[in-house]
């Protein structure tokens, strides 16, 4: 065992004793005062999706510690639910006391005890009913808001660009916004505003004089992209790629692809950009779509690309014209996105000089292949918001191109569904082939597949295991040497614990 190694995944021995212990902990923790807050947090983190919440609820062993990576945000809805939960509990306790005191038969004792013991169940059911009721009330109200936004958008004179895909939507949005802003007035929703209500909120804030509006279209279930596109009515579209990112919800990649390509129903084929480096997206693309890859996009060709921690440098050429470009984005996989941005910018009337300036202003986005400096010349690459197979492949490719002792840190990827094993084994094999020196894995339900892939790929480096990401990062801070490069791939949200 190396000095850094904490523990490997626990062997499955003593399973029955462990199961009993877990069962007791779960039962007791549901009767802990923290339980109500945990329920509200779980509902909030599941975006009030009762199915997702319930699946998570069934997995939790200890309800006292579900807030690991994030904390409950005391929004109006969450606060109201929290208060409601406590009120329900209080009524249950008062009811139990009243029944206990007004003894008329031995059954009163039993009923009183039942009320006390099963109060957590009643609280949970009460909260779920409350969420469902709010949704019923909210539904028409939300539809009204979305309808208003749709009307406003229809009247808006700006060019509307919609972005769909399993991954890379935010990066594409930010690159487009940065490049097009050199010659146009551009507006795009902040953060991950990709649901009908959040887009409506964004539309409400528009001034009306914007030249370009950029929207991300989020997808969880078939029909999602179509619904959003119907509201936005885009004239230009981008499909950033298709992979297993939400496979747990979509079940099959065909359904994922179909949902994402719902965007094509709204955009002229010659105005739909498709990521040519995503095999599934490419397979669905029409010949008249614009494919973008690290070779170029549309009529733009990329030459002499170089990438490193300071960004990516390349030349863009089109019909004899040349743009010398430097972007702060890291990794050759970002070339396609940059080329696509240059192409649409050109088609929307920006000059080559404006495109060059716009590309130069692109920089890494927060938590997406974002290089940072730790003390003692240790480079930390934060890729913690990048949790999909294509992103992982790109990150490993970039890491392997760098000089120094390289660390790849990951808890694995979530929502891989039936393909989780294959995806993670592939990551392991890619790491082994890339010659990464150290791989630090967080003990999750999928990380052992990466280990299997590493072993299968003949990994020669050092493999380390940690209980969670904070413990891992603390250990890395104490273990890093000058010149080390540490890449953290994805974070593991609480709801997948």
């Amino acid at each position: 065992m190396t000095p850094l190694e904490i523990a490997r995944p626990r062997p499955s021995g003593r399973a029955s004793a462990g199961a009993i212990s877990n069962g007791v902990t779960r039962w007791l923790s549901r009767r802990h005062p923290r339980y109500i807050r945990s329920l509200v947090y779980m509902l909030q983190a599941s975006e009030y999706n009762i199915g997702d919440f319930f699946r998570w609820h069934e997995r939790v062993r200890d309800f006292r510690s579900v807030e690991k990576r994030k904390q409950l945000v005391f929004s109006a809805k969450a606060t109201a639910l929290l208060v409601f939960g406590w009120v329900v509990l209080l009524f249950m306790l008062i009811g139990a006391v009243i029944i206990f005191l007004s003894v008329s038969s031995p059954w009163n004792y039993v009923l009183s005890a039942l009320l006390l013991l099963e109060a957590p169940l009643v609280v949970m059911v009460g909260l779920l009913l409350a969420v469902a009721s709010v949704r019923v009330i909210q539904g028409p109200f939300e539809r009204f808001i979305v309808a208003c936004a749709k009307k406003r958008l229809a009247e808006h004179r700006g060019v509307k660009i919609a972005i769909a895909g399993s991954f890379g939507k935010t990066s594409m949005r930010e690159v487009l916004k940065t490049v097009l802003s050199e010659g146009k007035k551009v507006a795009a929703p902040p953060d991950s505003y990709n649901t009908p209500l959040s887009i409506a909120r964004f539309v409400r804030g528009l001034k009306g004089d914007e030249d370009v509006l950029i929207f991300e279209l989020g997808e969880y279930y078939p029909g999602d992209v179509r619904a959003l596109a119907r509201a936005v009515q885009p004239t230009w579209g981008f499909v950033t790629g298709v992979n297993e990112a939400h496979l747990e919800k979509f079940k099959t990649l065909e359904r994922t692809t179909g949902t994402i390509f719902e965007l094509a129903e709204f955009v002229d084929a010659s105005r739909l950009y498709v990521n040519g480096e995503s095999a599934l997206a490419r397979s669905r693309a029409k010949s008249s779509n614009v494919l973008y890859t690290r070779e170029g996009a549309g009529d733009w060709r990329i030459e002499n690309p170089e990438t490193g921690l300071l960004g990516t440098t390349f030349m863009l050429t089109k019909n004899g014209a040349m743009v010398r470009a430097h972007s702060g984005l890291c990794g050759l996989h970002s070339l396609g996105v940059l080329a696509a941005a240059a192409d649409i910018a050109s088609r929307l009337g920006l000059t080559n000089a404006e495109i060059e300036r716009g590309l130069a202003r692109t920089k890494p986005f927060a938590h997406r292949l974002e290089p940072k400096q730790w003390p003692d010349k240790v480079t930390f690459i934060d890729d913690s918001y990048n949790g999909n197979p294509d992103g992982a492949r790109a990150a490993i490719e970039f890491l392997s191109s760098l000089q120094g002792r390289r660390w790849y840190v990951t808890p694995g990827l979530v929502e891989g569904g039936a393909r989780a094993k294959d995806i993670h084994e592939e990551i392991g094999r890619t790491l082994a082939a890339a010659g990464i020196e150290k791989v630090a894995l967080i003990r999750t339900s999928v990380a052992h597949h990466i280990e299997a892939g590493l072993n299968e790929g003949g990994f020669n480096g050092e493999m380390l295991w940690y209980s969670d990401m904070p413990a891992c990062l603390a250990a890395l801070r104490a273990s890093a040497l000058p010149g080390d490069i540490i890449l953290v791939q994805n974070d593991w949200p609480d709801q997948y614990a």
Binding site: P3, L4, I6, P375, D376, K377, Y466, S467, A471, A474, A475, R477, A478, S479, A480, L481, P482
Partner: protein
């Protein structure tokens, strides 16, 4: 999981530096390793002992009213019953057995062997040099006398005590006049350059002596080497030793004072903790000189009987390249982790290795017989004793 106590603070001029060393890198690395139950044991400037895990975070000591919070806690006592135990007395008394101790004390009543003596009495493994090396290294004069006996070079010096200064001032000044100016006047037992003055003429001398004697009852006056290359070498190990990189302090002022060592900012070197902004690692002094320094460093380490960790300081005449042993520090500030990192040893590897060395030495000491059976007590009152 082993329980480890990190002892820091203490009745020393280097009290605050000790708090930094305890946290960066010791406690941080021990916690990050996940291998230890880490108990910070803090000794106040008046000698009270406290132990509470809230002190595992350095930010505790940055709170405006941390001392007020501290005095509300129960003081901790020590028990030597079958090893070392921390004891919180009172109605709800609590005892905690300690498996290993990591002393993080600089200067008097800690680094000088006092704490090591206590820990030997407690029969518990502890990190760093043992009582004898610590005591010798704490006395700069004693260090010079010991290494000189082994044939190593030191710069010409004179030493005396506060009492001698009070009674034989002229005699001592006459001895000092035989040294070549400029001179360094140093308290013998203090580290971190506290109380040290560089004297360029006889007028400044007496004042510098008075200042140094305020900090220590024994002082040292030695010739300054000019032009000077100052080099320091961290070393770890027991029987087998490993050297870090030769490090050359980059003087900001005429000599390193406390501010240079611990408070100066700057970008050179980077890193956290102390000693990262003012030195060149590895020292650009050529391969041959580097090798000589490393060999001499190991010789000094062994001569003083150092174990665990120490740092040997050298003075080199820049023209003649003659190397003089200056002093030995048995607990380098923040373990000189910045230097070890450049030598390819991470904070965690360094700290865990020091714990391993402590246990190795403790195991080896078990082979030593300390008790001896005799019937001398039965003979008391016999013919020989009656004479």
């Amino acid at each position: 999981m082993k329980t480890i106590a990190v002892i820091f603070g203490g009745r020393s001029a280097e009290h605050d530096v000790s708090i930094i060393t305890a946290h960066i890198p010791i406690i941080d690395s021990l916690l990050a390793s996940g291998k230890f139950d880490v108990w910070p044991v803090y000794i106040t400037k008046d000698g009270s002992w406290y132990a509470d895990k809230a002190m595992n975070d350095l930010s505790f000591f940055k709170q405006p009213e941390w001392e007020e919070r501290l005095v509300k806690w129960k003081k901790v006592q020590l028990s030597f019953d079958n090893g070392l135990k921390l004891v919180w007395p009172g109605l709800t008394s609590k005892k905690l057995a300690i498996d290993v101790v990591f002393p993080s004390m600089h200067g008097t009543l800690g680094e000088d062997g006092s704490l090591m003596g206590l820990l030997r009495m407690a029969n518990v493994p502890f990190v760093g040099c043992d009582i004898f090396a610590s005591a010798v290294a704490m006395d700069k004069v004693l260090t010079k006398q010991v290494v000189t006996a082994e044939g190593l070079s030191v710069v010409p010096y004179v030493w005396f005590t506060r009492t001698q200064w009070a009674t034989k001032r002229q005699e001592l000044l006459a001895a000092v006049r035989k040294l070549r100016m400029p001179l360094f006047v140093k308290p013998v037992h203090l580290g971190s350059s506290i109380g040290i003055a560089k004297v360029k003429n006889p007028v400044e001398l007496e004042n510098a002596i008075e200042v140094a004697l305020r900090y220590d009852e024994k002082i040292l006056i030695e010739e300054a080497i000019e032009p000077l290359i100052e080099v320091t070498l961290p070393i770890i190990g027991n029987d087998e030793v490993r050297t870090a990189e030769c490090e050359r302090p980059l003087n900001r002022t005429e000599f390193f004072d406390f501010k240079d060592k611990y408070l100066s900012g700057g970008k050179k070197g980077g890193g956290s903790g102390v000693n990262n902004a003012y030195s060149e690692v590895p020292a650009d002094i050529g391969e041959e000189l580097t090798q000589q320094v490393k060999e001499l460093g190991v010789k000094v380490y062994r001569t003083l009987g150092c174990t665990g960790i120490a740092r040997v300081d050298f003075l080199i005449h820049a023209d003649t390249k003659k190397i003089y042993v200056n002093e030995v520090n048995t607990l380098p500030g923040s373990l000189y982790h910045h230097n070890w990192k450049k030598a390819g040893v991470s904070n965690m590897e360094l700290v865990l290795e020091l714990v391993r060395l402590a246990e190795e030495r403790f195991a080896a000491q078990k082979d030593t017989t300390y008790a001896f059976k005799s019937d001398i007590l039965n003979k008391v009152g016999g013919p020989k004793f009656q004479e």
